[in-house]
Symmetry: C2
Subunit: 181 residues, 2 copies
């Protein structure tokens, strides 16, 4: 069983249950691999699994969210493309956010650097599109932050009230959140 098949499964577990909510037994059930096999692939156990999932996600962020912002096209088109891919990644708000589950409690210190770096590269890519569109660096950065805040907040609120409409609305409004109405 290869990394490419197991990491997506681990991602789903960590985003759904959080670091503390994922047990080796649960992973064993979900993947069909015995505990000993899991430790064969990940000698440092759960911590290594979460770390590799975060690196896998960082790669996905760069490939799916950041790269579309760097190709040719108008700022609005780039953001619309990104918004669509974000919507897919979170399955219209049905799938939770990795950040939440990996920044609670003790896990926070373990993974802070990885999470921080991943968010930062996404943030900078969005801000760069804003600068291209004529915004000042400061405003572009703030609005990029607002976009990530809206995405993460919408995931929390949508799940809490059991209604995906707020998430979908946020996705739709991403371009205007950076470029203005």
């Amino acid at each position: 069983m290869s990394r490419q098949t197991i990491l997506p499964e681990l991602l789903e577990l960590f985003r759904k249950f959080g670091y503390d909510g994922v047990s080796i037994s649960r992973i064993s059930e979900a993947t069909g691999l015995g505990k000993a096999s899991l430790y064969h692939h990940f000698p440092q156990g759960k911590e290594q699994m979460a770390r590799e999932v975060l690196m896998f996600v960082d790669q996905a962020v760069n490939e799916y969210f950041v790269a579309p912002l760097k190709v040719a096209g108008s700022p609005k088109q780039k953001l619309t493309n990104m918004a669509k891919l974000v919507e897919e990644f979170y399955d219209c708000g049905n799938k939770g956010c990795l950040i939440e589950g990996l920044t609670l409690g003790d896990a926070d210190e373990l993974f802070h650097d990885l999470i921080c770096a991943s968010i930062e590269s996404w943030l900078q890519a969005i801000a760069k599109v804003g600068v291209e569109a004529g915004l000042s660096k400061k405003i572009a950065r703030e609005r990029a932050e607002n976009i990530l805040i809206a995405i993460q907040g919408a995931l929390v609120v949508s799940r809490a009230i059991g209604n995906r409409a707020p998430f979908k609305r946020v996705i739709r409004d991403i371009p205007s959140m950076l470029l203005g109405t």
Copy 2:
């Protein structure tokens, strides 16, 4: 030891570590009470503790966030007052959000109704201020949702990047998020 002294301590634990991250031993250490004493006060264990914390928070939400929106004053003043109290409650973004830790994994089903009701009453109170200020019901509701999304999202992002500035900015912008610039 009374409910009034122990519930705030439990709140801090659950918001910091999430439901799965809080163990009875941890609660015992934090409160200074032995395990058996904790079960004396909360016969149904951790689940009851979390439930009572949520009811305690619901009360606090109504007392501190909703009530200030119902007194006399201009819409802008009401929102500014609320924003200030929200900032205090989350300690400028240093303290996490209960919702996150209690909507992950299995805990989600256990507490969904309580969390949902609590958010809904807050949401409606904000929307009502918007209607008073002349907004349509639909727009007022959407903007109220946007405010909660921004608050929760800012907590996630601020913690993740280790910088409270986005949270403070969101707090400052709450009135204009409802009433327009």
